[in-house]
């Protein structure tokens, strides 16, 4: 007992001695992360509050001396705008198409790449090339391909006898949005395929063997084994593509410029036009918040779905 009390008092003395340096040590982690926090505050938090401030004022570049506070007027005007609602509708259409297209592409190509053989092996490397190309470059390439006068696509289709005269892919309000979808899938589909491939490679082979022994066909194996394993990856792609759809700007900028008419005017382009064409920073900032709120809301829904999937899987 005496040994124990000695030991305790020695510890207490040691603690007492250490109490001052311990306070210094406890401040150390905060000091360590302070530079990073300051940088984040500078590049993220400050711009966020600055943008919020902008959105609550009338701020037009051509009136540099007048920035009256307008409350939520910029938001109200945006929601009440016929052109905003059209842009929202087009964004939803585009997002739905790229989600479906990219996921289908990713799963199909992932399944192909998961097969043994030399060709899938080579394809695994080659497939990533479009993903490695900067988006602006990809858009420029596709602008040439879709050109209605001398584009490669028209030449190939005409040569194959599928069209009698050249089609104006970018000049048609029906076809121009589809050119954006095709270019997006070409650019981002490879990433989806590699993500699906990574998931497919961890599915135990014996599950498929068991399914075969039980008399299950290829479709049954795909539906009951492959798809459940792929579901978390697909949900992740769903989130990425939803955000991607709502913030797509560079493709529009290079490929269609929002036209013809407003056929490819989506929310991100609409916000850009409000800021840089109409020089209305206040309304542009309000739109940026609206886009962020929509994508954040959708992401939350997906994350909840993803969590429920994880619980299900667990």
């Amino acid at each position: 007992m005496g040994e124990v009390s000695k030991s305790v008092s020695a510890s207490a003395q040691r603690l007492g001695r250490l109490s001052r340096p311990r306070r210094a040590v406890s401040a150390y982690p905060y000091l360590s992360i302070l530079p990073a926090l300051l940088i984040i505050a500078l590049v993220s938090v400050y711009p966020l509050f600055f943008a919020l401030d902008l959105s609550l004022h009338r701020n037009v570049l051509t009136e540099p001396l007048s920035h009256p506070y307008v409350g939520l007027q910029n938001f109200a005007e945006t929601f009440g705008s016929y052109y905003f609602l059209r842009a929202l509708g087009r964004t939803l259409q585009f997002t739905a198409l790229i989600i479906a297209g990219t996921i289908c592409y990713g799963v199909a190509v992932g399944l192909y790449l998961n097969r043994p053989g030399r060709l899938p092996g080579i394809a695994r490397v080659a497939i990533l090339l479009p993903w490695a190309i900067p988006t602006v470059m990809a858009a420029i390439i596709w602008r040439w391909i879709f050109n209605g006068t001398y584009g490669a696509l028209n030449a190939v289709l005409a040569e194959a006898g599928l069209i009698s005269s050249y089609v104006s892919w970018l000049g048609s309000p029906t076809l121009a949005p589809l050119t954006l979808v095709v270019t997006h899938i070409w650019k981002w589909g490879p990433l989806a395929a590699i993500m699906c491939l990574a998931t497919l490679q961890v599915i135990p082979r014996d599950l498929y063997e068991a399914a075969t022994i039980d008399g299950g066909g290829r479709w049954a194996a795909f539906r009951h084994i492959t798809l459940p394993f792929l579901r978390p990856t697909v949900l992740l792609l769903l989130i990425l593509e939803t955000i991607g759809g709502f913030v797509t700007f560079d493709l529009i900028y290079v490929l269609t410029g929002g036209g013809p008419a407003d056929a490819t005017t989506m929310l991100a382009w609409f916000a850009y036009a409000e800021i840089f064409r109409f020089l209305n920073l206040g309304k542009g900032a309000a739109m940026a918040f609206i886009i962020a709120a929509i994508t954040f809301g959708l992401a939350l829904i997906y994350v909840r779905l993803l969590r429920s999937e994880e619980m299900y899987a667990g």
């Binding site: 570049l61 006068t149 104006s168 970018l170 269609t256 036209g259 008419a261 109409f278």
Partner: protein
């Protein structure tokens, strides 16, 4: 001997100390000018700068160029950020009012009163295009009327003897050319939403029908039933529906529409008159020599005359007298007659690139007349410029924003998504909204 030497040294000492020293040559202070342009013939601009600096060694000009399509956006961003603002820059009648109202560029006649006299030698439409609130904001870089182009060779193949005098006749000729299988889409314009020229093409079409966009108080008149604007939209829509106007027109800029003409894939177009120089260059077009200009089809044949000019930013006066002097020397050399009355830069643009000009004395320059005569009917060009060219109506601080809105709205009407009357009503509503704000 020793005494004589001492005496010589004494005299030398006195001489050195009594002769007053020569006054120190005061070098003119070095002044730098940030010169921002859209990308066109950068080598030539650099050479012009080099020659200017040889005449004015105390001025250091730093050239920055931006893509034409993104030029106004980039310049505005530069002005707003303030970190990379220009001193002297290219501007256009499109943007003048907006930039002047924001205080980014300044009236030249406030600082250089000699401009008022010089402006009397410029074409009227160019002076109007460079003026805001009665003040002159620039010296012309180039100025041109918008002109109607046609390919004479294809017209002859189709058995057509003269260019169309009315819009209806144009439609008829295009149908004939298409039916004969000569060209699939005989008509094409640079109507892209990114193309600042698109509104100039459109307004020219309105003017040629005798139409106006606004009254003298800047109230829209184009939204009246049956207005020239409504007729023009309906004409373009009909041309597209008839399959005689290239559907890519809605995505083409002026260069792409010009390429289609040069490639012989198109017969009729509207562009700045000086673009004809490249059309009739055998190195650039297989039908060179067969491209002609004509009066704009329509009842009045009127068209838009536009001006691109050298402007001075508001930061130059803040930098003081030396900067102002350097800016004036620069502006006079590039957009004016220069110190020796030779129009060194304007003349070069005209001779080497066929660019149109507003400096009327140059219409008497024998070299220019001979050079232009190789690719254009010079008397007709002069007649269009002096008699039919009008400045764009509605040049106000909100014109640039309205123009951007109009480009998309007009396309919706061309495509039949809305009626011409609806488009006119929407354009008027936007105009009034921008004006109110």
């Amino acid at each position: 001997m020793k005494g004589r030497l001492l005496a010589c040294l004494a005299v030398l000492f006195l001489t050195v100390n009594t002769i007053p020293p020569l006054p120190a040559v005061q070098a003119a202070p070095q002044v730098s000018l940030n010169f921002m342009v859209w990308t066109f013939a950068i080598d030539t601009i650099n050479d012009n700068i080099k020659k200017f600096q040889q005449r004015h060694p105390n001025v250091n000009v730093r050239l920055v160029d931006y893509n034409w399509g993104q030029y106004p956006d980039t310049i505005i961003a530069n002005f707003v950020s303030g970190s990379n603002a220009p001193d002297v820059l290219y501007s256009s009648d499109h943007w003048l009012q907006q930039w002047a109202a924001a205080g980014w560029i300044v009236p030249l006649d406030d600082y250089f009163p000699q401009i008022t006299q010089m402006a009397k030698t410029f074409s009227k439409y160019a002076v109007e295009g460079m003026s805001y609130n009665g003040k002159i904001y620039g010296l012309p870089y180039y100025a041109d009327p918008m002109a109607f182009f046609y390919n004479d060779a294809i017209l002859k193949k189709a058995g057509i003897t003269k260019p169309p005098a009315t819009w209806e006749e144009l439609l008829q000729q295009a149908r004939t050319i298409k039916q004969k299988g000569l060209v699939q889409y005989p008509i094409g314009f640079g109507f892209s939403q990114q193309e600042p020229f698109s509104i100039e093409v459109f307004i020219s079409m309105v003017y040629s029908r005798g139409g106006n966009l606004f009254d003298k108080d800047q109230n829209p008149v184009f939204n009246r039933p049956g207005s020239a604007l409504v007729q023009t939209i309906a004409w373009i829509r009909d041309a597209m529906r008839a399959g005689v106007m290239h559907p890519e027109s809605l995505q083409w800029d002026g260069v792409q529409a010009g390429n289609a003409m040069r490639a012989g894939q198109q017969v009729f177009s509207i562009s700045r008159a000086s673009a004809l120089a490249s059309f009739n260059d055998p190195k650039q077009a297989k039908d060179a020599g067969h491209f002609k200009i004509a009066l704009m089809p329509g009842s009045t044949h009127e068209t838009v005359g536009f001006v691109r000019f050298y402007a001075m930013s508001s930061q130059v006066p803040k930098r003081g007298k030396e900067a102002l002097e350097a800016a004036w020397n620069f502006l006079n050399y590039f957009g004016g007659p220069g110190a020796d009355n030779s129009y060194p830069v304007v003349r070069r643009w005209a001779l080497d690139f066929g660019l149109g000009f507003a400096q009327e004395p140059l219409f008497k320059d024998k070299d220019i007349l001979a050079s232009f005569g190789k690719w254009v009917d010079v008397p007709l060009l002069q007649r269009i410029g002096s008699r039919y060219a009008r400045v764009k109506q509605g040049l106000t601080p909100w014109f640039a924003q309205w123009d951007v809105f109009a480009r998309a709205e007009l396309q919706r009407a061309y495509l039949g998504q809305i009626t011409p009357d609806q488009a006119a009503a929407n354009l008027a509503a936007k105009w009034n909204e921008l004006r109110r704000k």
